[in-house]
């Protein structure tokens, strides 16, 4: 496994450097106007390609300071604690968490006119309903992810993986894992309800009853699960160690394993699943707002950069034409059949306050049971 990872890293390094080199002319011109300084970014591991970062720094004189984060809530708390004088310029918010950040005055509206490369984003992501709130854009969509059912292809068949029921079957007892918080939305969807809970905003009693039903289901199935996990790295580790053969995961970590040569497959089961989009957002009162716009415009300059982000993170690029710069294996790990994509819907934020006020205690109840 180590060898595979090393090979992949070497490959990624070469590919990223090539990609960034091809992309460079688009932002070299803007760089002439820059006078250095810095831009501070909070983001997930591998979301800013290293080769792009190095080239951006050398050509613009703007130092890129990346602080790695692993959770939306942590970013929210950090930023809320720092406002109104944040140390961050750009952070990484999932589209369905926008509302919480916006309502707390943590994000600045995005002026897309200042991004000459805005049109390089696929309109599916840049113009979809979740991306516009209060008449403003709030973030640059960079990568898209979804909740999938991942399986070891040497043990589980694709047909079995086409339903969430397999995750709770006796046959794979104690060989499964999931993120319990995310699983609530999926279980609600599997039961025929709206996992976003937008439909029940006017009927809190029904919403509570649905969460209760999902909670009871997960408690009943608790003896079958090996692990409630939190991070993609944990999922990868469990798969590689063969502690699990089947699990709910985000497509990014699963795709990274596939690209490493691990016998893994992933599906969007027929009962449906949820997708989300990671966006780069500019913080309200960002100390280096001008540099933040320069960075974002450079990042959007070419599909090769989007492809490099996909290669490193495993998530799907939002850039037009990025898939042309992926290998067949990488494309396979980031492309789903149309009939499966038809089962996908995006997370929505409108009912989040009600949803999480019900789901959070339910999660604790399942863990305590």
């Amino acid at each position: 496994m180590t060898k595979l990872i090393l090979n992949r890293r070497r490959f990624l390094g070469t590919a990223s450097i090539t990609g960034a080199a091809l992309a460079s002319p688009a932002y070299l011109r803007r760089a002439m106007a820059q006078s250095g300084g810095e831009v501070n970014i909070w983001t997930y591991n591998d979301f800013v390609p290293e080769a792009f970062r190095e080239q951006f720094e050398s050509e613009t004189g703007i130092k890129v300071n990346v602080r790695l984060v692993d959770d939306q809530g942590k970013q929210f708390n950090l930023l809320a604690a720092e406002q109104p004088n944040p140390t961050v310029d750009i952070m990484t918010v999932a589209g369905h968490r926008f509302l919480q950040f916006i309502q707390s005055d943590l994000l600045a509206p995005l002026d897309t006119d200042r991004l000459s490369n805005w049109s390089n984003i696929n309109p599916t992501f840049s113009e979809s309903d979740w991306s516009t709130i209060n008449g403003n854009k709030w973030g640059v969509p960079i990568l898209s992810g979804m909740e999938v059912l991942s399986y070891n292809t040497e043990v589980v068949s694709e047909e079995e993986a086409m339903t969430w029921d397999t995750l709770f079957s006796q046959e794979y007892a104690n060989q499964t894992a999931y993120i319990i918080q995310d699983m609530f939305s999926i279980i609600m969807l599997k039961m025929g309800y709206d996992g976003n809970m937008v439909e029940y905003m006017d009927d809190p009693e029904k919403a509570a009853a649905i969460v209760e039903e999902a909670k009871n289901f997960l408690i009943e199935k608790k003896p079958l699960v090996r692990k409630y996990y939190d991070s993609g790295a944990e999922f990868q580790q469990m798969m590689v160690n063969q502690d699990i053969v089947l699990g709910h995961s985000w497509n990014g970590p699963a795709a990274a394993l596939i690209n490493d040569g691990f016998p893994l497959g992933m599906t969007i089961p027929r009962e449906g699943s949820y997708g989300f989009v990671y966006t780069f957002n500019i913080a309200n009162n960002a100390p280096n707002s001008e540099n933040a716009y320069t960075f974002l415009d450079a990042l959007l300059a070419s599909p090769e950069i989007g492809a490099a982000m996909t290669k490193a993170s495993g998530f799907i690029s939002t850039y037009k034409g990025a898939s042309e710069y992926l290998t067949d294996l990488e494309r396979k790990s980031t492309v789903f059949p149309d009939e499966q994509l038809a089962n996908l819907q995006f997370f929505r934020a409108e009912a989040n306050e009600m949803k999480y006020s019900l789901v959070d205690p339910a999660v604790e109840a399942v863990k305590a049971a």
Binding site: G73, F76, V225, K227, D230, Q237, E364, K367, A369
Partner: protein, 326 residues
């Protein structure tokens, strides 16, 4: 002094530039006056010496805890723009009013107690061997060997346990090679794997106080007891154990308190049925709820409970010591 002496001897006095910084400072009038005032009485000397440690404890130890206590008594933190923060006891009421939080709370205390006992039972013989049977010349070498795993951080050592106990880990591999099992034993993500991890991580905190207590144990007492016909078990029960009770008490207190606060190890090694209270607390700080005050209140409750249990344990140990003296 040397300055004057050299002048008297007829040599030339070094000019100001030849003197060191400290030499110049010592000769500086205001400094001289300040030092004379500061050291005028033993009481002043004590206050000056105590000032830094007291300041350190207040700002670095008590400060964050008091801040946590303050946050636990508020209804909003961090405070969003336009929101007015007010004080409340609701965060504490939430714990006592909802039984779903009691299970991880009591589970944590139970785990901490059991793992402390396991650590004591495992490390006592090691400390005994080290203190009583290894020559003094080699004791430092053995201690150094025992300390080697502690040169790396908690997370790295936790991952080492994962490598050992995983389905494809060393333990299963050995068992399979020996033909003892056909399929791997699922050690990971159970209370067993979590226990192994916590005992491994806390062993040093038990070992050092035990070693320190056992090292002071006079050999002559055991020899006298043996001469009077006491067997090994009797000698241990009547001499070694009572005389090392302070070491046991210190080690158990340290390990228990550390065990109640472990977060990363239970998250990485534990399973669905081993959720500890630290995970519940962390959930309030960074999962969707983002409820710092509730997390702070729950942390305060755990802190208070751990202190009460530790105080009771110390009292019990104190009573045992007094009983032995009688």
């Amino acid at each position: 002094m040397s300055f004057d002496a050299s002048a008297k001897r007829g040599g030339h006095a070094p000019d100001r530039q030849d003197r060191t910084f400290w030499g110049r400072l010592a000769g500086w009038g205001p400094y001289h006056t300040l030092m004379r005032l500061a050291t005028a009485s033993p009481r002043r000397q004590f206050l000056i010496l105590a000032a830094f440690p007291i300041l350190w404890v207040l700002t670095q130890h008590l400060g964050p805890m008091l801040q946590m206590l303050r946050v636990s008594l508020t209804d909003a933190y961090p405070v969003a723009p336009g929101v007015e923060q007010s004080f409340t006891l609701d965060n504490y009421a939430r714990f006592f009013g909802d039984s779903i939080f009691w299970m991880p709370f009591f589970r944590t205390l139970t785990f901490a107690g059991v793992f402390t006992l396991c650590t004591l039972l495992i490390t006592y013989p090691v400390a005994y061997f080290l203190a009583r049977h290894v020559s003094r010349r080699n004791q430092m070498l053995f201690l150094l060997l025992l300390l080697i795993p502690f040169w790396v951080g908690e997370i790295v050592r936790t991952y080492a346990i994962m490598i050992l106990l995983g389905n494809t880990g060393a333990v299963n591999l050995v068992l399979k090679t020996l033909g003892l099992i056909d399929r791997p034993i699922p050690f990971m993500y159970t209370s067993f794997s979590m226990g192994v991890g916590i005992v491994y991580l806390t062993a040093l905190y038990m070992l050092l106080p035990l070693y320190s207590a056992l090292e002071k144990l006079p050999q002559s007492m055991n020899e006298a007891a043996a001469d009077l016909g006491a067997g090994a078990w009797t000698r241990f029960r009547r001499i070694s154990l009572p005389l090392t009770i302070e070491g046991i008490s210190s080690g158990c207190t340290l390990v228990f308190l550390i065990s109640t606060g472990f977060y990363a190890t239970p998250v990485l090694l534990g399973g669905p049925s081993t959720t500890v209270f630290a995970e519940t607390i962390a959930g309030f700080f960074h999962v969707a709820g983002d409820e710092w005050p509730t997390g702070a209140a729950f942390a305060t409750i755990m802190f208070a409970a751990a202190l009460v249990i530790t105080a009771a344990f110390q009292k019990l140990m104190g009573a045992l010591r007094k009983g032995d003296r009688k």
